[in-house]
Point group: C2
């Protein structure tokens, strides 16, 4: 058996990234990457467990899945591991009420979260919402806390759009870390907890996994 | 002689900070700190050399000095060491053409600087001008350079205004450092070169200096 075949022999589950693997985002909902619609369909017909794992934090899962379905993908919200719902679980478990420095497109994911009298900050790829005013609001919330908690949905440096390179959440996370003298908790890749939650959702162990 | 007297015996020059030492900034031009107008006047009548050394980078020296003169201080532009003119000297010496991520109040300091086809970024306390768009412009300029040069006027974390704590330039400098994987050159306190240029202006050695 070829080395590849050997490695694949023990595989029971597949973790698929979305942006750059299934589709390229862009104007009008983006475009499916050649062969990916059929590849997902074949994986789902196979004996393998499939989970979609993304750091997308400008869109809700509902919007993201809607977009992918329109491109022809067989995918549902329940099959997607994304930072916003993972953060919501942490907020609930720890009784945290966030000031949300996020993109409006992902705000609906936090509908069930109490945001009154904030005792932490959640920062995500907010795009144009990274105004000085919003950054300063987040900063002031953190500085008034005895134990400042900053949760960052990913820590990417930048990403590519058709219009050029765009600053991601990471630089803004670093800005608040430096301003407050604290360290953020990262929810999303490459956090091991995030991968673990995706694996748990399909009942697969790390050594049985293929990640694309 | 008392220890204080001993220390003062060798003093030939005095470096005075401006904000928080001479005056508190705020609405309507700020207010002089009690006794500071007379203290400056007495220093100037003494045998001591006096130099004003500030990290102010939201205002030009002209504006700053005008404000201080209205409060009663005997001070002129030529007596002030500030980051913007120090940066201009560096830009000229090294043939650098900056993309300016700065406050409009300090833009006049860069009137003589060529900003076409930028080959570096100068970042200062830009306040509301720290928009996502402007940060992304600066980021894109840096990413297109073979040897990205980022010059930061100070690296303060935050400062206090009557309305509360405000993010300073430091956090935004850190954001661009992380995004581009580079290290900024800091012009202003606490950079040793900056202090040295203030000392040279009054012909005083570091060991002959009293700094307030």
């Amino acid at each position: 058996m070829a080395p590849w075949g050997k490695r694949l022999a023990g595989v029971r589950g597949v973790l698929l990234d979305i942006s750059g693997v299934l589709y390229d985002s862009g104007a009008g909902g983006g475009t499916a990457i050649a062969g990916s619609v059929e590849a997902v369909a074949r994986l789902k017909r196979s004996r393998l467990k499939v989970r979609f794992c993304t750091n997308e934090s400008q869109k809700s899962r509902a919007e993201l899945v809607g977009q992918l379905r329109r491109l022809g993908f067989d995918i549902s919200e329940g099959e997607v591991t994304a930072p916003a719902p993972a953060a919501c679980q942490i907020l609930k478990e720890r009784g945290l009420r966030p000031y949300l420095l996020i993109h409006d497109g992902v705000r609906s994911e936090f509908d069930q979260i109490d945001t009154s009298n904030p005792n932490c900050v959640v920062i995500a790829d907010a795009g144009e919402s990274f105004s000085y005013q919003n950054m300063n609001n987040a900063f002031q919330v953190l500085m008034e806390l005895e134990n400042p908690v900053l949760i960052s949905l990913g820590k990417g440096r930048y990403y590519k759009e058709t219009s050029g390179l765009m600053l991601d959440v990471g630089p803004y996370m670093k800005a608040l870390e430096y301003a407050c003298g604290i360290k953020a908790e990262v929810v999303g890749k490459p956090s091991p907890e995030f991968f673990k939650s995706a694996l748990q959702a399909i009942g697969v162990e790390a050594h049985q996994l293929l990640s694309v």
